[in-house]
Assembly symmetry: D3
Homo-oligomer: 151 residues x 6
């Protein structure tokens, strides 16, 4: 049995309880999981990149098989550079599905050996999105209930 290594890519602005739930569940499938924060230099983040990396590391401090890295460029290239043949994605609803379907085909085109594996988001967490959390946080309301760490 070879090592099974997967990337969990996203912008994670911020990383939510929905995201951590997917990572914890994926540990039953994979030997190593790299949380890859896509860093698009032309897009301004709401939560600072290094702050978010530190927060995610805190969540998984007792899970050495989980690591966090920022990357620039295409997700498929990042996966290949990490020698990770799997992408993990959470599906919340049909809009997610259609978007992810397109992306998964493209990633396979960019690197033939790359397989995208989908887990369905826990229904309790499906309405938590990073966009929503930013909207609420902007108005100084507490969002810690949506996060696997304290801001």
């Amino acid at each position: 049995m070879s090592i099974k290594k997967a990337i969990f890519p996203g912008s994670f602005d911020p990383f939510t309880l929905g995201h951590s739930n997917i990572v914890f569940r994926s540990l039953a499938l994979f030997d190593e999981v790299v949380i890859g924060i896509g860093n698009n230099s032309s897009k301004v983040r709401y939560f600072e990149l290094n702050y978010m990396i530190a927060k995610i590391q805190e969540v998984f401090k007792n899970h050495p098989q989980v690591s966090v890295m920022a990357f620039e460029g295409l997700t498929a290239d990042f996966a290949q550079s990490q020698n990770a043949k799997f992408l993990i994605r959470g599906l919340r609803n049909t809009t997610d599905f259609e978007y992810e379907n397109t992306i998964a085909q493209a990633n396979k085109y960019l690197w033939k050996e790359l397989e995208t594996v989908f887990l369905i988001t826990d229904p309790l967490l499906a309405s938590i999105s990073s966009t929503l959390i930013r909207d609420i946080h902007k108005y100084k309301k507490d969002v810690n209930n949506f996060l696997p760490y304290q801001l």
Copy 2:
């Protein structure tokens, strides 16, 4: 690393190229895959159960980690009886997604440790359904192009 064992459940009436594609891809993820043919005694099959089991075995004869079994009752119970903590499902489109989402939650309720893992069907194969193949076969047209074996 423990053995990762998965069930690929379905009625497989018949087992199609879409199905075999999902099984072959899932071998990168799992150490053992059991193709479980749900056998509902009140529903008449178009292709006989034992004939289909033999055809599927032929497809995977060089892959000892793949086996085929019929089962009665709930999929979650079958998975538990096989000590297989994963279900594999292929997603073709959003209608599939909504149906599978409901079933996956129910299966998790029936056995807490059961995780459903989704792969997206190869777009070339997404329009192949067992229903369609039966409809074509009924009119004596050749369906072997849709199957990973010859009828």
Copy 3:
């Protein structure tokens, strides 16, 4: 302010926690709610009609504004016979939405004054369907966790 009376129609075979959740929430909107069990004589029920009526009555015994009735024929006709200008429907997902959209237009055609009001099902309960419960019950597994009463 006139009395606001609504019908909550369905086959309720069985009535689930998802159904009772919708009825309890609709009490904030309506003064009277009639749970209408559509009774199609050509379709055999899994749970007997009178048994189900008794179980539902038990759930709402402290809510005199909720009643239960069986009806034959079209839902719009039943609503009109009850002088109830509202239909209540729960939405679980997009498949539900498209189906309900069609039905709501037809009901409005059959009785111009009939308005269908939708509440979204609690995400925790969205995977509970009557079909699923019957499937589980058939195999002698406990389904009481999905019901607002004990079988």
Copy 4:
């Protein structure tokens, strides 16, 4: 310019205002349109086949480029036997789309030259379905408002 001939296939049990709307609009595209009533001998019709053919002929009596025929077997075979390289389908909603997408790919497989052309149903008519009309008619209510002819 060669003659452009299309099939508009369906069970038309009954043929509705939504169907006639699609046929009339398709006359801007095609030189000949054959309304093909798929006749599955194992399925009992609600409205008799010859009665429905007569009603449809009445609707198009001033449009000699429209004809009506019953057929058995696969739609693609019927189209080929008529030398009609186009299928016309109306789309009402996303559920229709996913179903038709699958069927269109299969038909293309069965006859490479067959192209399916989609028109979107007039929103006013999108909630009219043959199933709905049968349900209403069963209870002795008037359905003539949904039909391009009188029953």
Copy 5:
């Protein structure tokens, strides 16, 4: 019977015939309806806020139970400040449904007593969107047919 008060929130840039149709229908359900124009200071409106408020007031001048207000911040906070326990939303299609589903869960989280009530948009009006009207107006075409007032 307590007073039933609802918020109909939106950016209403502009307020369309689809919006007025939902408000008029909701008057059968609610004793008071507040049309709340979410005013995001960082987003430039196409139609000026005060102009739109005046136009909407004109539409409902004979319906004293309907009022119009601008608000900043979260919709759930605005509803709570108005002591309105209901949000009204119109659903046009499945894309709307998935978006609204997420928002409704979030609003309930922000204020436990807040219930979102959905009406399905009249099919004749479902293709009218504020975005579309702005696109047409930009090119100096008449859009008054889409509006319950004259620009």
Copy 6:
């Protein structure tokens, strides 16, 4: 038989294999096809307009019934100015369908005689989008496999 002329509108930034596949298939239906590049002066293109026009002309150089033009303003106005009573659109998935449904109704409103005709995208090409190609090209990867010409 009158000349059947159609517009295939889009931003085509860039024109893809999916687009050319739709145009080639539409030649069986239409006598003339105008590829109309909507040119919104406030939106910066990734691929220059004249460069793209030249590339598209190259693809159809042996098909004199296909032409390419840029246009400003509403698609319905452009179609009318060209005396083209048909719009051609490709459908990839349900998200496309809902969007196109809305646009088709609006276009019909703007010009009563305008009919939108839909073809379903070849499944092999359905994951190719202009957005995706720009994303890949930005990172200096080869995208010529997605295009009916060489960049």
